[in-house]
Amino acid sequence: MNKPLDRILYAEDEPDIQEVAVLALETVGGFNLKICNSGKEALDAAAEYQPDLLLFDVMMPEMDGPTALKEIRSLPGMENIPVIFMTAKVQPEEIAHYKDLGAIDVIPKPFDPMSLADAVRDCWNKI
């Protein structure tokens, strides 16, 4: 369907993981990234940044990924914004739960930084 994926709103509270993902998505993948340290920061940035896609960690302080998703989807024009969760909680029932919340896919941690951008692009092209 889609226009090529460009703008990703990325939320992750762990600085080391954030650093790996930013290299993987910006330098390797060539995406435009808005980096947030919590769900709350992502919510505050969403309207102005107008992302194509949300890429969220699940467990974050202040506001977790699922809550931020819900809040962002209640913003005008963002009702159907696609989301991918990146998480270390990858038991089958947990993945099913994230899909129920509307995730187009779940990328398990640890992820391979060299192929992360491709994995995200594949998810995007599936929509």
Binding site: P15, E19, V20, L23, A24, V90, P110, D112, P113
Partner: protein, 359 residues
């Protein structure tokens, strides 16, 4: 076995038989009575689940076999052990009883000591089965959390090393990655060591090497070890250590307790604040307290403070990590010494942990 008295449901259509069993059991157990099959099912489904059922077979309307069959069909009641008590003594009847899921078969006229012994055995079996199930549930939850808590640091270890191998990175970036890899692997080692401690404690293989030691001396040694970290965060450590008599404890394990409390206090304190360690003799016990002026712990989280993987909503002030296991290990070590631990905390003011050990 649980402390609470177990409840036994006696089902028989003859009052005399009921009375015999009731007299026999009333001393040690709570008893409930049903005069027929329908009443028995109603009793069982009306709230109080009995721990065991003594079930007559030949009853009007609904016989004992049918009652047993229905009990075994429901998830609620299928684990209640059923013992048939009956005058029907041929092998086929007995086999039918077992095939319907009964755990035992007693023929009338009953022998009181045999009934008591079998009831006791089956209650004990049920108790240990329940305990096994509960432990298994806890173990699975524990494994799930441990796997999750190891996956996160592995993400940075694997990601950073992979990038260093596959991408041209500037030198300063490489150094930064190496420092992170080193820090993260230390953190993982701490988690693994904590997991092994918890596992040793849970399986009862937690040997203490009790010798005469001095708590104030140990406290000073452990304070020296954290003073560098404290200084880096601009936190002052004040120690008020009484001269204490030597007492019996495991120096390494109590040292581990002090390390935990001291690093926690530093971890959750802001720069410019102070951490105070006090030792004293009080009421024939030796007490050590570690007090900080940190963020404090919300009241509703205090109760869960000592559970495994129960991290509070309070965040470390300098980006430090928690395994969520430290305080549960601390409590186990203190209890293994027959000591006590308590905590006082006020949000915005700080937290104090008190540990009392036998003198």
């Amino acid at each position: 076995m649980t402390d609470k008295r177990e409840t036994i449901l006696i089902v028989d259509d003859e009052r005399f038989n009921i009375n015999v069993l009731k007299d026999l059991l009333d001393n040690d157990y709570d008893t409930m009575v049903a005069r027929n099959g329908t009443q028995a099912l109603k009793r069982v489904n009306s709230g109080t689940l009995p721990d065991l059922i003594l079930l007559d077979i030949m009853m009007p309307e609904m016989d004992g076999y049918e009652v047993c069959k229905q009990l075994k069909e429901s998830d609620e009641t299928k684990d209640i052990p059923v013992i048939f008590v009956t005058a029907m003594s041929n092998l086929d009847d007995e086999m039918k009883g077992f095939s319907l899921g009964a755990v035992d078969y007693i023929t009338k006229p009953i022998s009181p000591p045999i009934v008591l012994a079998r009831v006791k055995t089956h209650l004990a079996l049920k108790g240990s089965l329940e305990k096994q199930k509960e432990l298994n549930k806890i173990k699975n939850k524990f494994l799930g959390i441990a796997a999750h808590d190891l996956r996160n640091p592995l993400t940075s270890l694997q990601g950073m090393s992979q990038l260093m191998l596959k991408m041209p990175l500037p030198e300063d970036k490489k150094t930064k990655f190496l420092e992170s890899i080193n820090k993260t692997s230390n953190q993982m080692l701490k988690l693994v060591n904590n997991l092994l401690d918890v596992s040793a404690i849970e399986s009862g293989k937690f040997d203490l090497h009790i010798e005469m030691n001095n708590l104030s001396k140990l406290a000073q040694e452990r304070i020296d070890l954290v003073s560098y970290t404290a200084k880096n965060k601009e936190i002052t450590i004040t120690s008020i250590l009484e001269t204490l008599p030597d007492s019996l404890f495991d120096e390494d394990r109590v040292g581990q307790v002090l390390d935990n409390l001291l690093t926690n206090a530093i971890k959750f304190s802001n720069s410019g604040s102070s951490v105070t360690i006090t030792t004293k003799e009080i009421d024939g016990m030796i007490e050590i307290s570690v007090s900080d002026q940190g963020q404090g712990i919300p009241e509703d989280e205090i109760n869960n403070l000592f559970g495994s993987f129960n991290k509070t909503s309070v965040r470390p002030t300098g980006g430090e990590k928690s395994t969520g296991l430290g305080l549960s290990i601390v409590k186990k070590i203190v209890e293994a010494h027959k000591g006590t631990i308590k905590v006082e905390s006020e949000v915005g003011k700080g937290t104090t942990f008190y540990i009392s050990l036998i003198k």
